[in-house]
């Protein structure tokens, strides 16, 4: 492993303080992971406290040709913050101040390391909320959300991160601090904010974020329904969208493989459940709630429970958010796929996923954003068994191909990262990728920020 010269470590310590630079192997190993199976150890970890410190670190790295890999809480699901080519892991979790919360204009200005949930909590004190709600919302940072253009269950109605970010403070490759966008969206100019959101740390470091807040809906209606088969649940989703009902979210959890494991050979009566939530005015909910219920009943739900109060609603959501954690008790490793298909194709895609899992002899469950067509098949396995990782990766590739063939995408909210960089070619040709690379060159970031991510491994030739 190429260690950084002592002089650079000293320089980093001078910028961020001795305690905020890690370089001992036992400290570095802690930063080798995210929530995928990707691994890569940084050469140094720096935890700056201010934008000026970030700028100084980036400038130093730029001068010395050391890669910079920005990192928040490390909850990412595509290997985006894994330092696969070494370099400096730029950890922004010390920049965690909410600088401003303006309830009249419905804006918050926050540092990149603020936890998603903290923004939401601060907003709720004013009757507002921050809409994007990834499952890791209690631990993931807003900077990471911006880098990955994170989603979550409620994005069906409210949109993903990019729909809620108005402006950014960034540090470019040469260390310059550049603000893009602002508090108002009507400012003329290129929408650089829109390009940086979802650029996965490959363009710049993000130090501050201006987010839009929404008013908390007056009331809600949350139900959880159980189904014998996931096709029935998926059918209900398609039926709902087709009839013009777009609830705030529609989430399916699929656990047929576990149900079969536990049923001792008997045919399980329930193998999937679905959460549907409708929010809005009392009048909206009074009309939509029963309409939703009717469609679910018509799609052969085995049982339906409607939350009677906030506590019951919270219990339903706690179960959904905890799905990934629960799966961890079955086997030590999991591999979550983030494919998207048109919503009309959901039943077909779910069938294909089951066939692919069977073909590779893999156990799979899923907890996914059905209303968006965003599948999250999750392979559960023990990586120490020989050959299993190869089977998982091959099966994932086939599922992504199936999503693209259906007119969908290889990633709905997790990002391309390391994991899917070679699958990007399923969606984009050389010209498409070259145009993206040119934008990266315009940011001056080709060699510096997060090398080896997002773009396919073989370099895309830049037309001169």
């Amino acid at each position: 492993m190429p260690m950084l010269p002592e002089s650079i470590i000293r320089e980093l310590q001078r910028i961020a303080g001795d305690d905020n630079v890690l370089h001992a192997p036992e400290d570095l190993i802690v930063f080798e992971y995210d929530a995928t199976i990707e691994r890569g150890v940084p050469d140094a970890v720096v935890l700056p406290a201010t934008t000026q410190e970030v700028s100084a670190v980036v400038r130093l790295a730029h001068e010395r040709g050391i890669p910079i890999v920005p990192r928040g809480s490390g909850t990412g699901l595509s290997g985006g913050c894994v330092p696969s080519e070494g370099g400096i892991s730029l950890v922004l979790t010390r920049m965690k101040r909410i600088l401003e919360l303006d309830p009249v204009n419905r804006i918050a200005v926050v540092e990149a390391g603020v936890i998603n949930f903290e923004i939401d909590r601060a907003a709720r004190a004013h009757g507002l909320f921050y809409a994007p709600d990834p499952a890791s919302y209690k631990s993931c940072t807003i900077g990471g959300n911006v880098a990955e253009n994170a989603g979550g269950p409620h994005c069906l109605a409210y949109g993903v991160t990019t729909n809620h970010v108005l402006g950014l403070e960034t540090v470019l490759a040469d260390g310059s601090i550049v603000e893009v966008g602002g508090r108002m969206r009507d400012v003329p100019g290129y929408d650089l904010t829109g390009v940086i959101v979802g650029s996965e740390g490959t363009l710049c470091a993000i130090t501050k974020v201006i987010v839009r807040l929404l008013p908390v809906p007056e009331t809600g209606y949350t139900l959880v329904a159980q189904f014998k088969g996931v096709e029935d649940a998926a059918g209900a989703v398609s039926r709902m969208i087709a009839s013009g009902i777009v609830p705030q979210c529609m989430e399916i959890t699929q656990f047929e493989s576990i149900a079969r494991m536990l049923s001792g050979g008997a045919e399980p009566t329930v193998t999937a459940s679905m959460i549907v939530e409708v929010e809005g005015l009392r009048e909206d909910v009074a009309e939509l709630g029963p309409a939703v219920r009717e469609i679910i009943e018509a799609n052969r739900a085995v049982s339906i429970n409607v939350a009677k109060d906030d506590a019951e609603r919270e219990a339903i959501w706690a179960a959904r958010r905890g799905a990934a954690g629960m799966v961890g008790r079955i086997a030590p490793n999991q591999y979550v796929i983030d494919g998207v298909c048109p919503r009309t194709m959901l039943p077909q895609l779910l069938r294909q996923v089951s066939e692919i899992a069977k073909k590779y002899d893999l156990l799979h469950v899923a907890a996914f954003h059905a209303g968006d067509g965003n599948l999250h098949p999750n392979f559960v396995f023990d990586a120490s068994q020989p050959g299993v990782v190869e089977r998982v990766v091959a099966a994932a590739g086939e599922i992504l191909q199936a999503c693209v063939d259906a007119g969908g995408s290889i990633t709905g909210e997790h990002g391309v990262g390391l994991e899917k960089r070679d699958h990007l070619r399923l969606m984009f040709n050389e010209a498409d990728l070259a145009a993206m690379q040119r934008i990266r060159a315009a940011f001056g970031a080709v060699e510096l920020f997060n090398p080896g991510k997002l773009f396919p491994k073989e370099a895309v030739a830049l037309p001169v």
């Binding site: 893009v180 108002m184 650089l192 959101v197 009048e283 998207v340 984009f428 934008i439």
Partner: protein, 441 residues
Amino acid sequence: MSDNGTLKASIKAAASRASIVPRRRLPDYAIDGLLPQIAVSPANAEETAAVLAAAASCEAAVIPWGGGTAMATGSIPRRYDVALDVTRLNRVVEHVAEDLTVVVQAGARLQELQEHLAHRGQYLPLDPPLPERATIGGILASNAGGPWRHAHGWPRDWLLGMRVALPDGNVIKSGGRVVKNVAGYDMGKLFTGSFGTLGVIVEAAFKVMPLPPARATAVAFFKSSGVAVRAAMALHARNLRVESLDLLSADAANAVLVDHAKGNLWCLLAAIAGNRGAVERTLREMAAICTGEGAAMASLAPEQAETVWQRVRGLGLQTPDRDALTLRAFLLPSKVAPFLESAESTARARDLPLQIDARPALGAVYCRTAGGERVTVLVRELRELAGSLGGGLVVEACATSLKSQIDVWGDSRRDAGLMARVKDSLDARRTMSPGRFVGGL
């Protein structure tokens, strides 16, 4: 730029004969008094890209055209050789109603698209002026919107994917046609609002929405802009089913409401959409808030309402009237009331009557006036006012003579350097609409 003959020969080699617009129609493509040497209306994306590449190789400048409804916006072109008209790319490529998505070519007119979607009870919630002329590509390129922005946001919020012809001769795509997609850079955002300075949008995919079951329009009349803004923000804070919320000065209200106008009062106009119960409640609560502030209320029958909203959209409209001036101030919502108050007195001092259409919750204020040479000072004063309130001001339409005296886009931005590098990365030869956009891009 190379000489005329070489350029025309190169363009004719890149485009089919049927795509060359007859010479006599060149005046249709005038911008700020300048005419192109040639106009091309390509039949497909590849031909569009080939024309761009041919022009780029001759160091010529290309300006894309849709319905032409926003062409008054922008600085005087530095060069203008080729008009590229996208209106032959006018197909709805695919509308999957069950999926609430549509793919449409850039030259399709908004109204045609809306009619197509309405057959299946859906719509794209964007309502810029002149939908019968405005094209999808033009709406995206100019980031155009109307009163519906209040509830439904910007074109970028509905965009799922895009195909763009670049001056290097490639047609690139970004995004896709599914509602959630983060694969690769979100390039579609970059072209949205870029005013034709990076490439030519040839196709776009959008999310669409079911048409609301019920709609209504309510009107409230106020003695002052300050009280009216307070009422508007109180209504906004209730999070009801308001789709548009426009505050019109007496002048603007008289132009819009005609028979229903009330002399010299400010008029708050609200479109309300949703299910019947929610619409009725919104109307009730709006009436309570507004009468509580001393306003007189009126309601409009559905067919009247449609006409009134059409006129509201037309208020910011760019007419060929050489003296007409349309300004758009962008502010934080909390700064709309102070802006309106000072703007009124500024205009009064200059003896220039302002027609104002403010969207308080969006912080957008459109001002319209006509006044020949005297408007230059007014623009400077209003721009200074908006700036002092933390916002800015864009001149959306004005006489060409004014454009040589002021920058229509306003002060340069902090990210101007990065914008210029982005421009150069996709359009190194400055083929696309040179000089038209912010910072001389």
